[in-house]
């Protein structure tokens, strides 16, 4: 077990201090780091430049400076990101990629307060069309050129192809990790599970993959013990702050699968084949399913959750509703009745990254545990 704990500690060290992880990377490689705001960006292009793609997901900070720039009904994660921008947390980055799949992000891209030069890019929403891929190929080309200018690096196609391979390898390892967590919830509790997944955003992907594979191998050596607690699936943008995950753990919840933008939505499907590396990256966006930031008139999310609950024999679904997130709020009235009809117990908790005391979440989660006895 101690080897497992060792590896988990390595991941937790990274997530507890991402800044140190970024600085270490820059020191070791002499290359830069590029922030990715959010949710989905062409990390492979940054990776191909030899730079570290860094996830920007806000933090557990009290909002104060950000109030001068954002109305109070801005989503919690963007308020948090703005707070970190104002405090200079993101200034160690050499550039920032800002995606704009929602109205709030469009605005955020225009009021970037950090020092690193921002590169705003937009994902196409009419995703079924080949024309959408053609658009995104051009848009990614624009991103690539801007990165090359700012970083002073050349990013050839072969390098991007190699990075795509490395990323697909990581995605595969992550899917395997999530599967194994469902089988060994006693060993990988919600807090640990999250650390392994979140560390992806601050580590070079092949290094992350190697460590995850070691972890998986060590876990497989352990005997599988029956789980007496509850099995849940999380859906939403993200399940943070850490205090929330601790409440899940303390109530005997095992996260057997997730539909979180910060977690499985990043790696549940690979970058597919394509004409050029940029075309391949564009197709990844086209094939993304079940995320409210990617338009889907068929609204597949409900059925996806039902299938997920069935596949992992989950006792329930916990909706992690990002505070003031319009896209997530629009999906709920569609999938909630579907879950109800399928007899899948569910509850909703609000995600507020600023939260330091979790009384309300504690009550709701404890009650849900009592409901899905």
């Amino acid at each position: 077990m101690s080897r497992i704990d060792d590896i988990i500690t390595q991941f937790q060290t990274v997530t507890a201090n991402p800044k140190a992880a970024v600085e270490q990377y820059k020191k070791e490689t002499g290359k830069g780091a590029v922030g990715i705001l959010y949710l989905y960006g062409p990390e492979e292009i940054v990776h191909a430049a030899g730079c570290l793609p860094v996830g920007m997901w806000g933090g557990n900070k009290t909002i104060s400076d950000a109030r001068a720039h954002l109305v109070p009904f801005t989503c919690s994660i963007m308020q948090s990101v703005m707070e970190l921008e104002c405090q200079g947390t993101y200034d160690i980055l050499d550039a920032v990629l800002i995606s704009v799949p929602c109205d709030t992000l469009k605005s955020m891209s225009q009021i970037w307060k950090g020092k690193a030069p921002p590169i705003t890019f937009v994902h196409p929403q009419n995703r079924n069309l080949a024309a959408a891929n053609e658009f995104l190929v051009e848009e990614y080309g624009f991103v690539k050129r801007r990165l090359e200018e700012i970083l002073g690096e050349n990013i050839p196609d072969e390098a991007i192809e190699r990075s795509i391979d490395i990323y697909n390898e990581n995605r595969k390892a992550m899917r395997e990790f999530c599967e194994i967590t469902a089988d060994y919830p006693g060993i990988i509790d919600p807090v640990k599970r999250h650390a392994v997944i979140k560390a992806r955003f601050f580590m070079e992907k092949s290094k992350h993959t190697a460590l995850v594979k070691q972890l998986i191998a060590e876990i497989r050596k352990q005997p599988m013990t029956p789980w007496n607690g509850k099995k849940i699936i999380l859906t939403g943008i993200m399940a943070e702050p850490l205090g929330l995950l601790e409440i899940f753990r303390n109530n005997g919840f095992a996260i057997v699968a997730d539909d979180l933008a910060q977690e499985s939505r990043q790696f549940r499907h690979d970058v597919p084949a394509g004409r050029t590396p940029l075309h391949r990256l564009a197709r990844w966006w086209q094939e993304l399913e079940g995320c409210p930031l990617a338009m889907d008139p068929g609204k597949a999310r409900g059925q996806m959750l039902i299938d997920l609950a069935s596949r992992y024999e989950a006792d329930g679904v916990v909706v992690c509703m990002m505070k003031f997130c319009d896209p997530e709020e629009f999906d709920y009235p569609i999938y909630y009745p579907q879950l109800k009809k399928a007899g899948i117990k569910n509850t909703t908790i609000e995600i507020d990254l600023e939260e330091k005391s979790f009384e309300q979440a504690r009550t709701r989660i404890q009650t849900f545990a009592e409901v899905i006895h």
Binding site: S107, P124, F135, E138, K299, Y332
Partner: protein
């Protein structure tokens, strides 16, 4: 009604009612009805004789007639958060009631007593995100609830000017695809002649719209910017058809006449001129109007006229694509600030009033930054107030009055 002698106001009321009636008769006759986003390219639909209904305008009407709360309660029960766009919530509530009515044959009380204009459920929907991405989510839900096709024209956010060629190409390809979808849905070949005619008509309508907007520059002015909140309905529902051009020409002629005869919007009482940035507060429209009037503050600055300036070369889809993409709220901050500066300058405005709209992120989140830029550039003060376009809960008349008064005082001090 005698069309020749009718005033523009009468024509506006007539055509709004007529279009709703057209939608209802289309439904009865088994012809197609489409619900569409307000700034989506409707020219193709006019070409195929599809009756258009515009939920944003429809919701605004419900709000103005004080019927929003009932609809909001319906969507609240369905699980829609109160954070979401109130146009969407009102419309999804109305849709729910119509859907239930269609299913059971019984009208819910909320529907029976609603002041909402009576429009039928759609057979297809058209959406575009040149105003906002909320319109994508809203229409996703309509498509699934009603099990109907959704035609999408994605206008990618213009984060850097000028609009890239590849962005225009993408929009054109979507227009082509939409044409194919229409052929599939209607079972008829697309009428390219009528399509071109609708484009040409749009240009003529835009000319009259710009004529009307030109009166904002007059000082004193014969037009109150609040009029745009009402007349823009013509540009939403009819720019591709003749009646919008006729009604707007009438309005422009009336304004010209008034200007010539010294008949101004506030008479002798035009003491200051302000920009109103944002959507109207429909449930409290008359309060906001009166409050400004009491201060002698005439609204002569609005970005609304610009939003319907669909100037393009008929027959040239690339130029049409560009004009649909270059909407005020779909452009980067620099371009937005430039546009607002031009509006304030053209309106000869002394100050600006910003609607911090609880329902609308695209029109609220950049207000402070835009205000600062324009205020510095032109040396004019600004004030903000909290409101909502259709949810009456999110507005305090007392707060509005205080803000408007302090704006007048700031203007007077200069």
């Amino acid at each position: 009604m005698n069309m020749e002698q009718a005033s523009s106001k009468e024509l506006l009321a007539y055509w709004q009612a007529h279009l709703d009636e057209r939608a209802r008769s289309h439904k009865k006759e088994g012809k197609l009805v489409c619900w569409s986003a307000a700034l989506a390219p409707t020219e193709m639909f006019i070409a195929m004789d599809i009756a258009m209904v515009f939920p944003e305008t429809h919701s605004a009407g419900i709000g103005a007639r004080k019927g929003a709360l009932d609809m909001l309660e319906v969507t609240n029960r369905d699980g829609y958060s109160i954070d979401i766009c109130s146009y969407a919530r009102v419309n999804l509530g109305y849709m729910r009631l119509l859907k239930e009515y269609a299913r059971t044959g019984e009208k819910a009380e909320a529907l029976a007593k609603s002041p909402a204009a009576d429009v039928p459920l759609p057979d297809l929907i058209l959406t575009s995100n040149n105003i906002c991405n909320t319109l994508l989510k809203w229409y996703e839900n309509l498509a699934v609830e009603l099990d109907i096709p959704c035609i999408t024209i994605d206008a990618p956010y213009i984060h850097d000017m000028p609009v890239p060629e590849y962005s225009k190409k993408y929009i054109v390809k979507q227009l082509d695809h939409a044409i194919q979808q229409l052929e599939g849905i209607t079972g008829r070949p697309f009428d390219y002649d009528r399509f071109l005619a609708a484009q040409e008509q749009t240009q003529r309508s835009v000319k009259q719209w710009q004529r009307v907007a030109s009166f904002l520059n007059y000082k004193p002015s014969p037009i109150n910017g609040f009029d745009f909140f009402n007349y823009m309905a013509l540009m939403v529902i009819g720019r591709g058809e003749e009646f919008a051009e006729i009604a707007l020409r009438k309005f422009a002629d009336e304004l010209e006449e008034n200007a010539k005869n010294g008949k101004f919007a506030f008479g002798d009482n035009e003491r200051s001129r302000v920009v109103w940035e944002g959507i109207a507060v429909w449930p409290h429209l008359s309060h906001t109007f009166k409050s400004l009037k009491n201060q002698g503050s005439l609204m002569t600055g609005s970005t609304y006229p610009g939003m319907w300036n669909f100037e393009y070369t008929p027959g040239d889809l690339m130029s049409m694509a560009e004009s649909y993409a270059k909407i005020y709220v779909n452009m980067c901050l620099d371009a937005r600030a430039q546009e607002l500066t031009a509006v304030a300058k053209n309106g000869r405005c002394d100050g600006m009033l910003f609607h911090m709209n609880r329902s609308c992120k695209i029109m609220s989140l950049l207000n402070l930054q835009t205000a600062e830029i324009v205020s510095k550039t032109l040396g004019i003060p600004y004030a903000t107030f909290d409101g909502d376009q259709t949810d009456p809960n999110n507005f305090s008349p007392a707060q509005f009055d205080t803000r408007v008064q302090s704006l007048s005082e700031m203007i007077a001090k200069k």
